[in-house]
């Protein structure tokens, strides 16, 4: 507070010092000018001047002290006023702060409430969005899995049909081959049996006819065989 007071009286002090310096210069100039004109002894002049200047300075100091006192008093008065104003200000400030605090609390509560409401709304919206997304995904997955299942079923059916066809064809081919082989084997066996029967018959006939056929009869059979061969062009 003293610094503020000095700052407030500083212009007055500056003006006062300037006045004092002007007064000093005026006294010195007049003393010099009076010496030239009056030829008075310098010591006397100096003493007068000194006296006058001391008087001036003394008065100046006096005035300055008055000013200072006045300034201090004014400062004290202002300070007391300022102190009083400070308390009022503090009270007002506290009051204002309380109002601000209350307002801030209210505002914070309101903001918090709004934020909570907004957050709840956001959460709800998010939940709805997520739920919708989940439902959409579920539907998409269901549709996709249904399509895939149907496609897989079709593929499986086609594969089974194809495998069934191939297996049936291979089985049929194997059966046909087996039937052919059996028929061929049967034919071969019949042929072998026929050969054996004919061999048996032939040997039987040989045994039976060897003693019965004469050379003439055998000769006739030889020529009959040769004629047969000729008829079949066996000699060409």
């Amino acid at each position: 507070m003293s610094i503020e007071l000095l700052q407030s009286i500083l212009p007055f002090l500056t003006v006062l010092l300037m006045i004092m310096q002007l007064a000093l210069f005026f006294v010195l100039f007049r003393a010099l000018f009076s010496r030239q004109n009056d030829d008075k002894p310098i010591d006397e002049i100096l003493a007068q001047t000194k006296e006058r200047s001391s008087s001036i300075i003394h008065r100046a100091f006096g005035q300055a002290n008055k000013i200072l006192v006045s300034a201090e008093l004014e400062g004290i008065r202002q300070l007391s006023q300022e102190k009083r104003s400070g308390r009022e200000l503090v009270e007002a400030l506290e009051k204002h702060l309380k109002v601000v605090e209350t307002t801030l609390q209210d505002h914070s509560s309101e903001t918090a409430r709004k934020a909570e409401d907004s957050y709840k709304a956001f959460i709800k919206s998010t939940e709805q969005s997520i739920q919708a997304h989940i439902e959409k995904n579920d539907k998409f997955l269901t549709d996709r899995s249904s399509a895939m299942t149907a496609h897989a079923q079709e593929q499986l059916d086609a594969f089974i049909k194809d495998v069934h066809g191939k297996v049936s064809m291979e089985v049929e081919q194997a059966l046909q081959a087996a039937r052919n082989e059996i028929a061929e084997y049967k034919q071969r066996r019949i042929q072998v049996l026929d050969e054996k029967i004919i061999d048996v018959l032939e040997r039987t006939l040989q045994v039976a006819l060897e003693k019965k056929l004469s050379l003439v009869e055998q000769s006739e059979l030889v020529y009959k065989a040769l004629e047969e061969a000729k008829h079949e062009n066996s000699f060409s």
């Binding site: 026929d194 004919i198 056929l213 000769s219 059979l221 030889v222 020529y223 065989a225 040769l226």
Partner: protein, 173 residues
């Protein structure tokens, strides 16, 4: 007579390769003896001394005197060698019959083949008793069986049917 004409004369009375080779051998020996022996050689006696068959003697006699007069010391070996070469190119058929043929049967077979197959064909006869009821032959590298076996195979289906019918009847009874 040329060598070919002489050969054809011999071939006309010989139907098997063995007869032909044997008769040419006897002819060579007879001519050598006639030309180079100081003694007079009688053909029949010579053949008998060589144990020639009756058919051989008949064949030699059937050729006539002109046949033997065609030979002399100069051409004998040349003609005989030519005949040996001719034998090699004559077609031969191997015939298999179930009995040993008598000479007359050989002639009969020979005539049949020359009439039915070729004029200059020769036979190579073999005996195979299993060829009952017919014969077999090998001609141009192919063996053909025309015995009872052939006829039975030819009628195999009929025989099989008879047997099948018999078996069926047997099971039925």
């Amino acid at each position: 007579m040329t060598a070919d004409q002489l050969f054809q004369t011999i071939l006309h009375t010989a139907y098997t390769r063995s007869d032909l080779q044997r008769r040419i051998r006897l002819l060579r020996e007879f001519l050598e003896k006639s030309f180079y022996s100081p003694e007079t050689t009688d053909l029949t006696k010579f053949l008998l001394s060589k144990r020639a068959t009756t058919d051989d003697i008949d064949a030699f006699l059937s050729w006539g005197e002109s046949f033997l007069e065609a030979f002399n010391k100069d051409n004998t070996y040349k003609v005989l060698n030519t005949m040996s070469e001719m034998i090699k190119v004559i077609p031969v058929i191997s015939v298999y019959i179930p009995y040993e043929p008598v000479p007359a049967e050989v002639v009969k077979l020979g005539r049949w083949f020359r009439k039915s197959v070729g004029d200059n064909i020769l036979l190579d006869i073999h005996t195979d008793p299993t060829l009952l009821g017919g014969c077999a032959f090998a001609w141009k590298g192919v063996y053909r069986d025309y015995s009872l076996r052939y006829y039975m195979h030819k009628r195999k289906e009929e025989i099989s049917k008879i047997i099948a019918d018999y078996v069926a009847k047997l099971y039925k009874d």
